[in-house]
């Protein structure tokens, strides 16, 4: 296939950046999207040009490193996948594809398609944990947990911290990410002692870091590669009211 790529190139955080067009011939439907970018880079390097900087690591949809904004959507046109899981078979010969970094005030661009998401670490630091020192844990089966509760906690816990929810949101809100952690920990008996404090500090931190407010558009859930549910935001709001009123 022949593909036209409009790729965001930006030398450094302070550079203004611009789209650059690449015509890429010989793309195979069997390639993943990132393998297609590898292939482009291979050509650029051989031609003496600078390769496009993009990030990836596990290449199997679990580390959360790779997110790109493809044709105006986080991770491209297919629902429920990360960028590294996107296959070129969804594109047609002659297609034009625009590729941009995730954009949000709290995710400044480092170079080309790579952004700084350390604000997510800061959010977890502000309370996304259970304060149990090593060695202080009781016997694991001493607290039974209902299967469905454990499963709910798991469904929230599988967030990969990719930032697609932030990139998808017109307000660049981190609500889905934060709520997934809050609800995972609040569902489990182990996390309940700190639940009130956690929801307060994490929400405060989210504002401080420059993430926007949630206006319930649901774009985050629609674009989340792990299909983390909006239910978590509702749960977080309930936790927040409990914490601030109760």
């Amino acid at each position: 296939m022949k593909i036209t790529l409009d790729i965001w190139r930006q030398k450094s955080p302070n550079d203004k950046g611009k789209f650059v067009r690449y015509e890429l011939d010989g793309v195979s439907k069997e390639m993943t999207f990132l393998e297609m970018l590898d292939y482009l880079n291979d050509k650029l390097i051989k031609a003496g040009d600078e390769p496009v900087a993009f990030d990836s690591d596990c290449r199997e949809g679990i580390c959360g490193t790779c997110g790109l904004f493809i044709n105006g959507r986080p991770n491209g046109p297919v629902k429920g996948i990360t960028t590294c899981q996107l296959n070129m078979s969804v594109f047609k010969d002659g297609d034009t594809i625009t590729v941009e970094p995730f954009r949000a005030k709290a995710f400044p661009v480092i170079k080309d398609l790579i952004v700084d998401r350390s604000s997510f670490d800061k959010l977890i630091q502000s309370g996304g944990f259970i304060s149990v020192n090593t060695g202080a844990a009781p016997e694991a089966n001493s607290i039974p947990i209902k299967k469905e509760i454990a499963e709910r906690a798991f469904d929230a816990g599988i967030c990969i911290g990719c930032g697609s929810c932030v990139a998808a949101c017109k307000n660049a809100s981190a609500m889905l990410f934060v709520s997934a952690k809050i609800s995972q920990l609040a569902l489990l008996p182990q996390g309940q002692t700190e639940a009130k404090e956690r929801v307060r500090t994490m929400i405060r931190e989210m504002d401080r870091l420059g993430f926007g407010n949630c206006t319930n558009t649901g774009a985050c859930e629609a674009e989340c590669p792990k299909e983390i549910s909006l239910w978590n935001i509702a749960k977080m709001n309930r936790e927040y009211y409990k914490a601030t009123l109760g």
Binding site: S12, S28, E30, M31, L34, E35, D38, Y39, D42, I45, K46, G48, D49, E50, P51, A53, D55, D57, C58, R59, E60, G61, I62, C63, G64, T65, I110, K111, R117, S118, D121, I124, Q125, G128, F129, I130, T134, G135, A136, A137, P138, E139, A140, N141, I143, P144, I145, K146, K147, A150, E151, A153, F154, G157, I160, G161, Q184, L185, Q190, G191
Partner: protein, 637 residues
């Protein structure tokens, strides 16, 4: 002479005695001591958090943008412990025995027993930290089986156990960062280790964003840098996994143990095309319910569902009736290779076998299977476009794990004073083959419960050592060498990309030093690796500059180290004239094609010492003694 420093006393009392008698550091003194931890996967994050909780000043270095992304996040199937919740006869001794046998009698008894002993604490810790392990309807924890064992001792969170455990350790570390006891340096690549007067005192890193080369000093250094299966190019590891930190330690005097003990995992999604950068694992847990087979007729191109029962060869069940589909990984991998090499493989390349859930779905219903493996099935469908609920999966072996690694003693200290290696980066617990669900256990065990104790024994002698100054000439020298190496890589300006070299190297390793090896092939590989390395240093093309974000330069640095590592792997594989576990030398096999150990001559850990760029590494042997198990032929028949 290697001293493994195993405490005296009966096996089951060694660790207790050690803890009761090791030297301690007072809380006031801990505050004065700095520890560098490189890597924050399950091992590094657990260690860093636990040591920070104790009061040490911990600095953590990772190459990813966040430590949550370490490749431990990708581990799937589960984590072992000896809770015996199933009442199926499990015990510390049994896990110990399974691991010693699984490792084909090439692991160290005392270390393995200790791991079994602390396994329950690991599960307790994770549950308390909020890991949503699978539960029964009663609300109690659920278990499943993994290969190479006959009890059900694996705890799991669907196919994302590693993710949940890694995030728990990550969160514990984030808590310590907030508390000011740990500091995170992300997007840093460790290029060298600093040794002053025989002691590890710091590291040289490259800031991957600015390109700046930085110095960091500490009283002790911990390498938790994971595995280097990426030396094979295609593997189930993250594409940036590397052997550079291990090689830096090796060049500075840390011995490398059993580097050729590399696990090729039997159930990966097969290679689909030439551009592929990575292979995706399908968890071993699938072999609990999936049956492995190939057609009985060579080149049978029928749809697998149209091939009747009597024309299917369930070769694992046929060859290993006692363990069937749950034989250990090395056995399953070789058996798949054997069938494919003999012409029975399926798929367009003939390099895959079926893993079939038809019978399990019939017996248990689709929902039960979905509950256990739903997300793995989804992953498979996303990658291959095929539906394992209605047609068998296709799988093939892939490079997955390194049992070998930096040599460590009972304290997890390398042969360099004050340099520790934990998690997959060390060698001690898995011998010649690792059993499933035991790596996460080892990583977390090392990090939470072992290192925080043993490091105190060393640091108790360091309380008078002031802060390590980075102005020491050792830092000057190492920094200059690191910069020179990068400049050299940039200056070659040849015609071939870094990746093309990595692919060729991987091909040599896979061909001659993979699942099956022989002397002729290994000698050939040695020669080819050397030639390729020469070609690399003459003709590689690395674009860009040193003082900027430069992925190609990072890759080139890693691939340069992979050449040296490959050479060491081959040297080790050549020297071990026996077959054991994953190390299968064709010359040494039984008539039935099973590995033939040579305990008389090779019952030792091979620890290699660096002697210079141009000279051969020197072999040191740590003899292995088995006082608590009977050394037998490892059989799964």
């Amino acid at each position: 002479m290697l001293n493994s420093k195993i405490p005296d006393g009966p096996l089951a009392e060694k660790w207790t005695r050690y803890k009761a008698t090791c030297k301690l550091v007072s809380p006031a003194n801990k505050k004065k001591l700095d520890i560098i931890v490189v890597g924050a996967g399950a091992a590094g994050a657990a260690a860093a958090a636990s040591m920070a909780e104790l009061g040490y000043n911990v600095k953590v270095f990772v190459y990813q943008d966040s430590s949550r992304r370490a490749h431990s996040i990708a581990s799937q199937g589960g984590i072992n412990a000896t809770k015996n919740y199933k009442n199926d006869g499990d015990s510390d001794y049994r896990l110990f025995y399974d691991m010693i046998k699984g490792g084909d009698f090439r692991a160290r008894e005392a270390n393995v027993y200790r791991l079994a002993e602390i396994s329950n604490n690991v599960i307790d810790q994770f549950v308390a930290q909020g890991v949503p392990f699978a539960r029964e309807y009663s609300g109690y924890l659920a278990n499943r089986s993994f290969g190479g064992v006959q009890v059900s001792r694996t705890f799991y969170a669907q196919g994302q156990t590693g993710q949940q455990c890694t995030l728990a350790a990550y969160q514990a570390l984030m808590r310590q960062i907030k508390a000011g006891k740990a500091e995170m340096y992300s997007r840093r690549f460790v290029m060298d280790l600093i040794v002053i007067d025989g002691k590890a005192r710091g590291i040289i890193t490259r800031n991957l964003v600015t390109g700046e080369i930085e110095r960091h000093g500490a009283h002790a250094v911990v390498f938790a840098t994971g595995g280097f299966g990426t030396v094979y190019y295609l593997s189930t590891l993250a594409i940036n996994s590397n052997g550079s930190a291990a090689m830096a330690a090796y060049r500075k005097g840390a011995f490398m143990a059993n580097p050729s003990m590399a696990q090729i995992h039997p159930t990966s999604i097969p290679v689909l095309n030439d551009y592929q950068a990575k292979l995706t694992l399908m968890s071993e847990s699938l072999r609990n319910d999936g049956r492995v087979w190939v057609p009985k007729n060579k080149g049978d191109k029928r749809n697998p569902n149209d091939i009747p029962e009597e024309e299917r060869d369930y070769y694992l069940e046929r060859r290993y009736p006692a363990f069937g589909n749950l034989v250990p990984r090395d056995v399953a991998s070789r058996a798949a290779k054997e069938r494919c090499d003999a012409g029975y493989g399926v798929g367009s390349t003939g390099l895959s076998v079926y893993l079939d859930f038809r019978d399990a779905i019939k017996a248990q219903g689709k929902q039960a299977i979905a509950d256990k493996y739903g997300n793995l099935f989804d992953l498979y469908t996303k990658i291959t476009g095929m539906d394992p609920y209605t047609e068998p999966m296709r799988i093939y072996p892939a490079s997955h794990y390194t049992m070998g690694g930096l040599w460590v003693d009972y304290n997890l200290m390398t042969t360099i004073q004050g340099l520790y290696a934990i998690g997959e980066a060390n060698f001690s617990d898995h011998g010649a083959n690792r059993l499933g669900a035991s790596s996460l256990l080892q990583c977390a065990g090392d990090g939470y419960f072992i290192l925080p104790v043993t490091i105190g024994d060393y640091l108790s002698e360091e309380i008078k050592t002031p802060k390590i100054s980075v102005d020491d000439p050792a830092f000057d020298k190492a920094e200059k060498e690191a910069a020179d190496k990068l400049k050299k890589l940039l200056s070659i300006n040849g015609t071939q990309t870094v990746t093309s070299f990595h692919k060729r190297l991987g091909h040599i390793m896979w061909q001659y030093s993979g699942m099956v090896r022989n002397e002729e092939g290994l000698n050939k590989a040695l020669k080819e690796v050397n030639e390729l390395r020469e070609e690399f240093w003459k003709d590689v093309k690395v674009p860009g500059k040193i003082d900027e974000f430069n992925h190609e330069l990072e890759k080139a640095f890693r691939v340069a180290d992979f050449f040296d590592l490959a050479e060491l792997i081959i040297t080790d594989a050549l020297h071990r004239k026996e077959s054991c576990g994953a190390h299968f030398r064709e010359e040494y096999q039984t008539e039935e094609g099973e590995p033939l150990r040579n305990d008389e001559e090779y019952m030792y850990v091979a620890a290699w010492e660096y002697t210079g760029e141009k000279s051969a590494p020197k072999l040191h042997k740590e003899p292995l003694t088995f006082e608590n198990v009977k050394v037998t032929k490892r059989s799964y028949k």
